[in-house]
Symmetry: D2
Subunit: 422 residues, 4 copies
C-alpha cells in the first residue's frame, strides 16, 4: 500500500525483514541497554545484509537513499528500539553524517565521516547549554572560541550532549567574533561575528565530560551528560563550513535531524500498535473479542489516523526539504510538533489497550512511552515550534495582504452607519 | 512552497487569482445562496479564464488535471464557498462526472456527462434512504428495481438527496434481483443480485421530489430533499456499468468524492485562517498586538498543523487512489475522518480569535462553521469510518501474524514460572 | 441522586415538571423566536405554578432561592431554550436583578427591580463597546459621563447590547471623572475617577438603538444591537451604588452572571444528551442497538463526564461565591471556561449521534449548537479567562514561596559539581 | 479559598504543614523507595503531630474525619509521593481499613483493623487474576473456596496484588458455592453462591507469593506480585461480612477506594503544578518571563482547570457516597475516569514546562508521570468505567421515558407528508 520506486521498496522490505528476523530477537529487556558487543555483531550483520547506513552515499559506505525516501526505511529501522543503532542511522550520528556529507571538506570527510559511517567512530553534537545559555533559544549561545594563531581556543559549558560518553569527536557550536582579513597574519579569510561549528576530538586536552544527567529515555547510547571546554585548542582545519555561519549550517542539520527523529519514532509507534493489535485480536473481555469492542476500535482507529497523518506530513516535508530547504525546514516544525505528539498518543493508547500488562515490563510499552516523551522537548520544544509556526503564518499573511490580497477581517460598517443612522 | 509540476502550478495560480478577483467579490452575504443568474455569469467567466471543470478530461470541456493533482486546485476553488459551484467541481455533480467518465458508455457520456460538465445540466446521487434503509450502512438498501421487458421499474424512497431540486437527472442506487440470461427474452446479460446504478431523468413519470429537509449548510445548491420513485420506468440503456455491481461502482465514486470534499473544505479552512490572521495581525488587546499573544499564537499554530496534516494526508490518498484504488479507498477513510474534524477545528478557532465579530454576520465564520459541520456525518459518518479503519487494521495485522510475523502480545511466562517457582 | 435540602429539591422537581409539561409543548420551531404573547402567557403560568423568578427574594416576587442552590433550578429551566425567559431568569435581566437586589437603593428597587422581576419591564447591560473600547479588556472603557448640576450627561457608543431592543432601561457602565466634594455646589459626595453604573431609561432623549447585529444565537430576546448615548442626561439618583466604583460592582454582577449562564446552558446540554439517548436507545445500525455500540457508548460517557464535572465545578463556585465573593469570582473563570467548552462538546456529540437528522431541523440540536457557541466568547472570552487563571495561579504561588514554601524547581547542582568534578 | 468546617480546615493545615516540613525533606530520590526505617520514623512523627490515619475512627487510632471531608486531607497527604504511606492512608491498606470498619466483626477489628491502623501490620487485597480470570470483568473470578468443616479451603491464582510482599494478611475475593443451612453440620447459615471475602493471614500454609511484576510505579510499597493459594485453610471466622456477598462488599470498598486514589493523585498533581509554577515564575526565555508567555499561561490555566474540576467532582462524589452509596459508587466512575486523565495531563504539562530538566531526574516530574500512568488502568480501566457510565445513562433515560418523559428523538413526519405531498 505505497507508491515507492522499486529499488527503495526493495530496500524497505529487506530492512523490514532484517529488523524482524535479526534485530528483534536480539533486543535487550525493557529498560536495559544494548551491549557494545551486540552492537558490533548486529552492525556487521546489517552490513552483510546490505541495509546498513541507508541515508549515506555509497562512496562512504551507505545505501545512497535520497532524503525524500528516508522515511519508509527509517520507520522500518525504528520498529525496533535498537534498530537505528544497528543500522547506524541513530541520532546524533545520523545528523552529523548528513552535515559532514553536505558541508565537510574532502579531508574532513575522510577523517570524520568515513569512520562515523562505518561504526568505528561515534560522535556528539554540542549545542545545548545550561540556563541561561543556548536551549530553546539558540541565540543565547555562550560557549565561545577565540581566534589564535593557527586555530581557535574554546571555552564553555554544554549539557544534554547526547552520546558524549561514547563519542570520539564532537561538532561544537561556539560563538565567534568577527574575523578581519589580516587578523591572524593574513592566513584567515574574513568572517562575520556569529556562531561557528568546530570539529573537536574528544581526547583534546581541556575537553571534559561532566556530570551525567539521568533521563527517561535509554535508546540513545552514551547518555546526555554535561560537557566542558576549558581552553581547548583546535586548528583552523577544524572549522566545519565557514566561521560565523554556524546557525545557518545548524538549520541544514536540524531540519532533517528533526524529521529523522519523526521517522524513527513513527516506526516505534507502529510497533506499539502491532502489540496492541495482537492483544485485541486475541483477547476476550466481557464475553466479546476485544477487537470487536467499539471503545477499543475507536482507540485503534485513532492510532491509525495518528500514524497515517504523521507518515503523510513527514513525506511532504522530506520532499520539500529537497526541493526548497528553507520551506522544508519551516514545515519540519509542523512535522515535528505533530508527530512527536501523535507517536506519544499511539503508544499511550496501545499501552492502555494492554491493561495491567501494559504498565508492566512483560510488554515494552511502558519503556516506549518513556523513550518518546522527551521528543516533545528536544529538537526544539513543541511550544517553541508552535511559536515559530504562528509567527511564520502571521508574517506570510501580512506579506500577502501587503502585496494586494484582500484584507478580510474588516467589520467596519461606516457606509451602513451613514445610511442606517443618518 | 510546493513541488507541483509547472502546468499544474500554473493552473493553481490562475485559479487562485480567479477566485480572489472574480469570485470573492461576487459572494452572497453569509447565509444567502448564489442566484442562478450569478451562477451562469460566473461559470462563463471561469470558462473564459480557462479554470473551469479542472477535474474533467479536456474532450468533455474540462482542464484534464489528473486526480493526483486535484487537491491544490480544489483547495483554491474551495477558498470561496461558491468557488466549487462556479468552477463546476462541486458535489454531487463532480462525483457523478468522475463516475460517468470512468464507467459510462459513449452514449451515456454524450447524453449525461457533456451537459453536466458544461453546466447546462445538474444531477444528484440517489443513495441515502430514510431509516431503516441505506444510510451509514449501505447494505440496508431498500429502494428496488424490477426487471421488465426493455428496462427496469423502480420503487422506493430516498432522502437527503443533495441537489435534487435543481437536477435534470439522478444516478439512483437500487436493489436488483439476479438476472438470468434469458430473463427478458434473451436480450439481457445475466447479472448477480445486488445493487445497480440507474440513470434516471428527473422528469420521468413517477419521480417525485418530496419534503424539503432544512439543514445547517447552504453551499450545495438544490437542497437535500426526499425523493420518491413510484413505478418509474427506465430503459436498459439507463444502467450505469453493469447490473448488480452498484456497490463496487459506488466505491469508485465514493473514495474520490469523499476526498474532493476534503479538498474543498480545506480550502475554506484556509480562508477562515486568513480571516483570523488578518484579525490578529491588526488588532491590539490588553496593550499587545494579538498576533504576538501566546494564546493566539497557540491557536494559529494548531490551525497550521491541522491545515498541513490534512493537506498531506489528502495528497497521499490521492496518489494512492491512482496507484491502487482499493488501498486508496481504504486510506480515504483516514483522510475523511481527519480532515473533516481538522477543518472544523480550524474554523472554530478562527471564529474564536475574532471574538464577538466571529459569531456575527459581519464575518462569514459562523456560516462556515455551519457549512462544514455536516461533513463529519455525510460521506460516511466519522464513527463509521473509524470502525472501518479499526477493522481493516485488525484484519491486516491478523493476516501478517498468520503469515509468520512474530506475535508480540504474549505475557505468557511459563518458563519463568518453572524456574522461579519450582 | 443529589443532596439538596428538601425545599430546594421540591422546587427543582416542580420546575422540572413545569418545563416538561407546560414549556416544552410551547417551544417555537428551531431558529424561531418566542412571541411576546406566548411569553406573557407562559410567565403567567410560571407564576401560578410557583416556579417564577427562583433567584429573587420573595418580597420582590421571586422564590427566594439562595445563590448556592440556583444551579439545580436553573439547569431545569435551561432544559428548554425558552425556559429561562419563561421563568424570568434569563440574561441580561437575571444579572441586573441580582445587582439591583444587592446594591440598589430602596427607591431604585421599587422603580426598577420590582417591574423587572414581574416581567413588566425588561433591561439591558451596557458594557461592551466597539473596538478599541471596552471588550475583553474592560479597562478600555470609552463611553463617559460628565458631572453636571443635579446629574450626569452621558456620551458614547456601545455594541452587542443584548436585549436592548425590548428593554425599558439600561444599566450603563461609563467612565467618570474624580468628583470633589463641592463639585456641583455641595450636594455630591466626593468620588474617585473610574467607572460608574447609571440606570438609564431607554426613552430618555439621546438614547438611540443603532444597527442590529445578527449573530448565531436566538434565545436571548431583543437582539444584540449597537446602542448610542448622545448627550443623555440622567439625574443623580440614577447612580447605581457609588460613582467611581463601577468596576467593583461589575464583579458583583459578572461572577454570578457568568455562572448562571453555565447553569442554564448545562440544562440545555442535558436536553441534548436526552435526545441523543432517545436516539441511541431506539435505533439499530449495522445490526446492533446503537446504545450497545462501543463508539456510541464512548461518546455518551464523555457527555456524562462533561455534564457531571460542569455540574460539580458550578456547585463549588456557587458555594464559594457566597462564602468569599472574591475567591468565588476567581473560580468562576474556571467554571465558565470549562462549562462553556463542555456544553458545546456535549451538544456536538449528541448531534453527531443523530447523524443526518442531527444537522437537520427535525431535531433542535443544530440550533442548540449555534446558541451555545457564543458563550465561549461572551462574559469574557475563554482565552481571557485562561489568561486570568494563569496569572492568578502564578501570583498565588509566588506569594506562597515568598511566605516560606520551599522553592521546588531548582536544578542547581553546585554542590554536586564541587564534589564530582573537583 | 474553601468552605470547610473549622476542625477539618485545622487538620488540613496541620497536615499541609507536616508534609512540607517533615515529609518532603525525607523524600527518597526519584525512582527510589522509602526505606522501612524511614517509614517507621515518619509514621511516629505523624502520630505525634496528630495527623496520622485521618480517615479512621478515633477509637482505632485515626483522626475520625468523615468520608465527605477526606479529599482536602488526602490531597495534602498526596502532595508528597510518600505522604500517604507516612499518614497510613495509602492503598491498599486504606481501602481495607475502610471495609473492616464498615463490615468487620468486633473480633476482626481487634485482630486486623487495629494493627493495620497503627502501622504494625500491612495488608493486600486479592481480587485481580491472570487472564481469563477476574480483571476488568470481576464476574470472571476463578479463585474459589470450598466449604469444609469449620472453615474454607482456597485454591487459586491472583496477580497484581499490590503490597503483598509486605502484607501480614490478605482480603481475598473467592468464588463460593451455595451453602445450605445444614451443609457443615448445622453451624453455618445458608448463603447464596457467589463471591466471598476471606481474611487470610499471609503465613497460612499454602499461601505463596509468586513472580514479581515490575511496573512503572514505585509509590505503593510491596510491589504487585502474583499470589497463589494452594489448599489454604481458613476458619469460618475469616469470612468478612457474609458468604456470597463479596461483590456487594467489594462495591463498599471499591467506590471509596477509587475516590481516595483520585484524592491522593490530585495532591501529587498539585505538587507538579507548583514545580511548574516555580519554574515559570523564575525563568526567562526569548527575553520574556516564562509566566508571562501566553503558551505557558495556556498550559498553566489548563492545569488549574483540570485540578479544580477534579477537586469538584471528587467533592460531589464523596458527599453522594455518604448520602446514597449506590449513586455515589456510580458517580465515582465519572470521578475516576476524569481525575485519572486530568492528573496525568497536569503532570505531563508541568513536565513539558520544565523542558529538558523535566525529563531528567533533577526534578521528580518524570517519576510522577510514571506513578500516575497506571491509575488510568487499575481500579477499573477508564474504558470499563466509560462503558458502565454509558450503560447507566442509557438505562436511566430509558426508565424516564417509560415513566412518561416525552421521547425526543422522533423525526417521524407522517403528518407533514400527508399535507405536503398529497
Amino acid at each position: 500500500m505505497n507508491t515507492l520506486p522499486p529499488d527503495i521498496e526493495d530496500l524497505r522490505l529487506r530492512t523490514r525483514d532484517f529488523i524482524r528476523t535479526v534485530v528483534m530477537p536480539a533486543e535487550p529487556a525493557p529498560g536495559d541497554r544494548l551491549s557494545e558487543g551486540e552492537r558490533d555483531r548486529l552492525q556487521a550483520a546489517a552490513k552483510s545484509a546490505g541495509v546498513f547506513a541507508p541515508h549515506v552515499a555509497r562512496e562512504y559506505g551507505g545505501q545512497g537513499v535520497p532524503l525524500q525516501f528516508w522515511s519508509p526505511i527509517f520507520q522500518e529501522a525504528g520498529y525496533s528500539l535498537i534498530g537505528p543503532t544497528v543500522l547506524n542511522c541513530q541520532a546524533p550520528d545520523e545528523g552529523n553524517m548528513h552535515m559532514l556529507e553536505l558541508i565537510g571538506t574532502p579531508a574532513q570527510k575522510e577523517q570524520y565521516l568515513r569512520p562515523l559511517v562505518s561504526g568505528a567512530a561515534r560522535s556528539c553534537f554540542g549545542m545545548t547549554e545550561p540556563h541561561p545559555g543556548a536551549g530553546s533559544d539558540p541565540a543565547a549561545l555562550r560557549t565561545s572560541a577565540e581566534k589564535v594563531d593557527g586555530g581557535w581556543v574554546i571555552n564553555g559549558h554544554k549539557r544534554f550532549i547526547s552520546g558524549a560518553n561514547n563519542a570520539s569527536f564532537c561538532i561544537a557550536m561556539v560563538r565567534t567574533p568577527a574575523i578581519e582579513a589580516a587578523a591572524d597574519g593574513g592566513t584567515s579569510s574574513p568572517a562575520p561575528a556569529g556562531a561557528t561549528m568546530l570539529l573537536v576530538d574528544m581526547d583534546t586536552p581541556g575537553v571534559r565530560i561532566g556530570e551525567q544527567i539521568s533521563t527517561m529515555d535509554r535508546a540513545i547510547g552514551g547518555g546526555h551528560p554535561h560537557l566542558h571546554f576549558e581552553d581547548v585548542f583546535v586548528p583552523d582545519s577544524a572549522v566545519l563550513g565557514s566561521p560565523g555561519e554556524g546557525f545557518r549550517y545548524a538549520q541544514v542539520r536540524l531540519g532533517p535531524a528533526r524529521l529523522t527523529h519523526c521517522m524513527r519514532w513513527l516506526g516505534l509507534a507502529r510497533r506499539a500498535m502491532d502489540i496492541a493489535l495482537d492483544r485485541t485480536n486475541t483477547r476476550e473481555i466481557f464475553g466479546s473479542a476485544m477487537h470487536e469492542l467499539g471503545i477499543a476500535q475507536d482507540m485503534l482507529a485513532l492510532n491509525v489516523m495518528d500514524l497515517e497523518t504523521s507518515d503523510a506530513i513527514i513525506t511532504k516535508t522530506a520532499a520539500l526539504l529537497e526541493a526548497d530547504a528553507k520551506a522544508g525546514s519551516a514545515l519540519s516544525s509542523v512535522a515535528k510538533a505533530h508527530t512527536s505528539e501523535a507517536v506519544y498518543r499511539v503508544i499511550d493508547r496501545s499501552l492502555q489497550l494492554c491493561g495491567g500488562d501494559g504498565v508492566s515490563d512483560r510488554l515494552p510499552l511502558a519503556s516506549y512511552l518513556n523513550e518518546v516523551r522527551a521528543f516533545r522537548i528536544y529538537d526544539g520544544s513543541n511550544e517553541t515550534h508552535k511559536w515559530a509556526i504562528a509567527r511564520r503564518a502571521s508574517a506570510a499573511r501580512r506579506r500577502e495582504v501587503e502585496a494586494g490580497a484582500p484584507f478580510q477581517a474588516s467589520v467596519d460598517t461606516a457606509a451602513a452607519y451613514s445610511s442606517t443612522e443618518a
